[in-house]
């Protein structure tokens, strides 16, 4: 298994390399002079000023040189300096990381809890009104834009009922609405998936055998059936994590929470090249790591899966 792990680790490198090249090219090939945009507020702007700012931003070198310089520094742990804030990119990301991690974890936990519960109930009561209701709820969950849902939650729970604070981070009260808004559509996907997986598993012979042995229904479901159904859920968690990160951008803005998502938006709008590149690279590393963990977890869930 260590072989497998190392192999996957090595394969991650070209993925990350490809990501960094793609981001680098994308930001530079979009037409538009960031120097002019940055100078817009000043009383008088001369061509000399524009040249000076371009030079400050390192835009004078040809593209390949710019990229090589960048990658060289990355390997030394220097992700560059934000053009706007003049502070190291890595520091800025580190400062904003924890609230996003909190939000993503909370949303994931909520989503899995709701999804697995709904999915299990639906599967066990297949084709009854419970099943239909759960699936309709799941449909709503998937259809509601998280942005809209966030504002509705704010309106109901903060403005009208005054139960929860709206903005900021710290404490469970500030986490609950953003986590719900972010996690709801993931929970819907999970519910449907669990339902489908569980239905398939419940038809297997070994389930019949377990029942025949006299095991209680609950034990059958939790120890035997769910465990096998969860493999697909775990896979989905890994893949959905990417969507969770991008959803965090919207939710963090709506709830004025600190986080990488909001940092990314500000950086993109300001054409702050180094910061955008840093955020994407870090996100890519995290995403690859999570999926690696997911792959490794299979062996715990299903001992039949061996790695060569």
């Amino acid at each position: 298994m260590t072989e497998y792990f190392i192999k996957r680790l090595i394969l991650a490198v070209p993925v990350l390399f490809g990501v960094s090249v793609a981001v680098f090219l994308m930001m530079h090939l979009i037409p538009g002079d960031p120097a002019l945009a940055m100078l817009r507020g000043q009383p008088t702007v001369t061509p000399a000023d524009i040249d000076r700012v371009r030079h400050q931003m390192g835009l004078d070198d040809p593209l390949p040189i710019q990229y090589l310089k960048y990658i060289g520094r990355v390997f030394q742990g220097d992700f560059g300096e934000s053009v706007k804030a003049h502070r190291p990119v890595l520091t800025m990301i580190q400062e904003q990381a924890w609230p996003t991690i909190q939000l993503a974890l909370a949303a994931m936990v909520l989503a899995v809890a709701i999804g697995v519960t709904l999915g299990t109930i639906s599967a066990l009561r297949q084709n009854t009104w419970v099943d239909t209701l759960s699936m309709v709820l799941a449909l709503f969950g998937v259809s509601m834009p998280s942005f809209w849902l966030g504002l509705i939650l704010i309106y109901v729970f903060s403005v009208r009922l005054e139960w929860l604070p709206i903005t900021g981070q710290g404490g469970w009260k500030r986490l609950i609405m953003p986590a719900v808004a972010l996690g709801l559509d993931f929970s819907a996907v999970t519910a449907r998936l669990v339902r489908a997986s569980l239905l398939e598993v419940l038809r297997q012979d070994y389930i019949l055998a377990a029942r025949a042995k006299g095991l209680r229904g609950r034990t059958v479901v939790t120890r035997h059936a769910l465990r096998n159904a969860l493999i697909s859920v775990v896979t989905i968690i890994g893949l959905q994590f990417g969507f969770l990160l991008s959803g965090a951008v919207v939710i963090e803005t709506v709830f004025a929470r600190q986080g990488i998502g909001r940092l990314a938006i500000t950086a993109i709008l300001a054409k702050d090249f180094p910061l955008v590149q840093g955020i994407v690279l870090v996100s890519a590393v995290v995403y690859v790591a999570i999926n690696l963990l997911v792959d490794l977890s299979y062996s715990f869930l299903d001992p039949r899966i061996h790695y060569r």
Binding site: I30, P31, G32, D33, P34, L36, A37, M38, L39, R40, G41, Q42, P43, T44, V45, T46, P47, D49, I50, R52, V53, Q56, K84, A85, H86, R87, M92, E95, Q96, L151, I154, Y155, S158, V159, E162, P165, I166, T167, G168, T253, V254, F255, A256, Q258, G259, R262, L263, I265, T266, A270, K271
Partner: protein
């Protein structure tokens, strides 16, 4: 008569509010209708600061409190010379004092960190005599050396500053500890007005040199508030400066600010910002959308403050080098075809006023004669298009086999989408087919400078009429903001002269002439005037404005 005039001036400059004005005006014998007409003619609906009696001040200073303000944009950096955003400027206006002050609607300069100033006869040397009792928030003394160091810092490219030096700036000379000369190689008449608008604020020399990161997070200034903490994307924490004792006389009192703290929270999403005000999580918010204006106005616990801006209004630039807008008759017809009231009254629900000229109404040197140009008249528009040879052909017009079509590239997310659609339909009424596309900043700037468009949208925040140079001088085509690609040597000459004319009255006259020439050539359609918008708890009062229309909180009180 003299007392009545003084009273009116005080009201117009925002130092007394409507109720106070009406009361005192009645006492002075002004009749009801006269009072009402003066109030209605007042350009802004700002609730101004009544000068508090000293006993009130004592009581209020005990109050203090923390003012929670919901801002719409996060600062990029807190360094005054490196920031490119008005969002940062708004905070820094309370942290850094200018050498001298000026306020919208008031023509006077008020001494600030400089007690007095002199301009040499040739207009090249400004001598400032500085106050001797001022300290920076970190304890460094404010003096002539600090002023010189500020300009030196900007001049040194190694510092990567974004702020540009004043045009024609040569050097700053320390004459003695508290006298500094700013020397120019060519006259720069807007200098004092721009200084008063918080451009080139004095930085603490030692701190700025030793602590580059600190300057971008918690820069020490000399203002009534100190930056205690800045967390990017989250908030800026300001605290009262207990040593502050050099406020301009305009504010009506001396000593530290009334508020104890300001919690400047950054909440980009306007719906969320509004929710925080309604839920009581913030005391005041900025940048409200027209729909929220109605909700807030009808809420008895809240007030809405609209402050007219200075600079160039929301304008459509007509490309003078690309057909069909290269024809002056077509441009004039387009100007006649637009009914601005639909935009201001329906789209913006009367939260803004129509604009008539290339400058905003409160800008020094605004020429009211521009208001007689191009009043909405589809008949005149049709007449001019006929004259230009565009023959009506059903819904459109043709000439030499070509259809009368124009391209409007609208800047994305700039609040111009709906007005553009209104203009499109109004053009259609006179036979002009307007195609609309959008493009985002900053790539659209390149497109505009290339001249791909017939119509562009633009606005400008500025404190001085020299803003016209950036938008209408021929040197600003292709690399600046003259998106109308407009060239008029007479206008060029007037705008250039405007930089060097030392007599203020003569200088304003030059700009007034330029405005008329511009209106005659019609390279632009001014549409609506910008406003700074604030909504907050009704009990809040005492907000003043600087020439960049940044709110000043020296006299602000929560009133709770």
């Amino acid at each position: 008569m003299l007392r009545q005039t003084e009273l009116v001036t005080e009201f117009k400059s925002g130092r007394i509010n409507r109720r106070e004005f009406a009361k005192r005006a009645m006492a002075l014998g002004l009749s009801g209708p006269v009072i009402t007409s003066i109030i209605l003619a007042s350009p802004s609906m700002a609730t101004a600061a009544p000068a508090p009696a000293s006993s009130t001040v004592a009581r209020l200073q005990e109050g203090g409190g923390t003012f929670v303000f919901g801002a719409w944009q996060t600062p990029d950096t807190m360094d005054p010379q490196k920031t490119g955003l008005a969002a940062t400027g708004r905070i820094l206006a309370n942290v850094f004092d200018p050498l001298l002050w000026r306020f919208p609607g008031d023509e006077k300069f008020y001494p600030g960190l400089a007690e007095s100033w002199d301009i040499s006869a040739d207009g090249l040397t400004y001598t400032f005599k500085l106050r001797q009792d001022v300290k920076f928030h970190n304890g460094e003394p404010f003096n002539a050396a600090a002023v010189k160091a500020t300009f030196d810092r900007e001049a040194d490219p190694a510092n990567s500053t974004l702020e540009t030096l004043p045009r024609g700036f040569d050097r700053a000379d320390v004459i003695d500890d508290f006298t500094v000369n700013i020397v120019f190689s060519s006259p720069y008449a807007p200098f004092l007005i721009l200084l008063a608008a918080n451009t080139w604020v004095t930085l603490p020399p030692q701190y700025a040199k030793d602590n580059v990161e600190g300057m971008s997070l918690t820069p020490p200034g000399t203002g009534p508030f100190v930056v205690k903490e800045y967390v990017a994307g989250s908030h800026v924490a300001l605290e009262r400066n207990p040593d502050y004792n050099w406020a301009p006389s305009y504010f009506g009192r001396q000593g530290p600010a009334l508020l104890e703290k300001i919690d400047w929270r950054i909440i980009e999403e306007s719906g969320t910002r509004a929710a925080t005000l309604e839920a009581g999580e913030t005391h005041m918010i900025e940048e409200i959308v027209p729909a929220q204006f109605e909700t807030f106005s009808s809420n008895p616990d809240l007030q809405v403050i609209l402050q007219d801006a200075i600079g160039c209004p929301r304008t459509v630039h007509l490309n003078c080098t690309k057909a069909p807008t290269d024809d002056k008759l077509v441009r004039q017809a387009m100007s006649y075809a637009v009914d601005k009231s639909i935009i201001t009254d329906v789209i913006f629900k009367k939260t803004v006023m129509p604009a008539y000229g290339p400058l905003e109404k409160l800008t020094p040197g605004y020429n009211p004669e521009v208001e007689s140009y191009y009043a909405f008249s589809p008949d005149k528009a049709n007449e001019l298009l006929d004259q230009a040879g565009w023959v009506k052909d059903g819904d459109t017009r043709t000439k030499d086999g070509q259809e009368l079509k124009a391209l409007f590239i609208v800047i994305a997310k700039d609040n111009f989408d709906e007005p553009a659609q209104v203009i499109q339909s109004q053009f259609k009424d006179v036979g002009i087919t307007l195609e609309l596309t959008t493009e985002a900043e900053p790539t659209v700037f390149n497109t505009y400078n290339r001249g791909d468009q017939n119509l562009a949208n633009i606005f400008w925040w500025g404190a001085d009429p020299e803003s016209l140079y950036s938008l209408y001088h021929s040197s600003q085509i292709e690399q600046g903001f003259n998106w109308a690609h407009y060239t008029n040597p007479d206008v060029d000459a007037l705008l250039e002269q405007g930089y060097i004319e030392s007599d203020d009255a003569k200088r304003m006259d030059l700009y007034k002439q330029a405005q008329i020439l511009i209106m005659e050539d019609a390279p632009c359609i001014p549409v609506w005037g910008k406003r700074a918008t604030l909504a907050g708890k009704k009990s809040i009062s005492g907000i003043n404005w600087n020439p960049r229309v940044y709110p000043l909180h020296y006299n602000t009180t929560l009133g709770e």
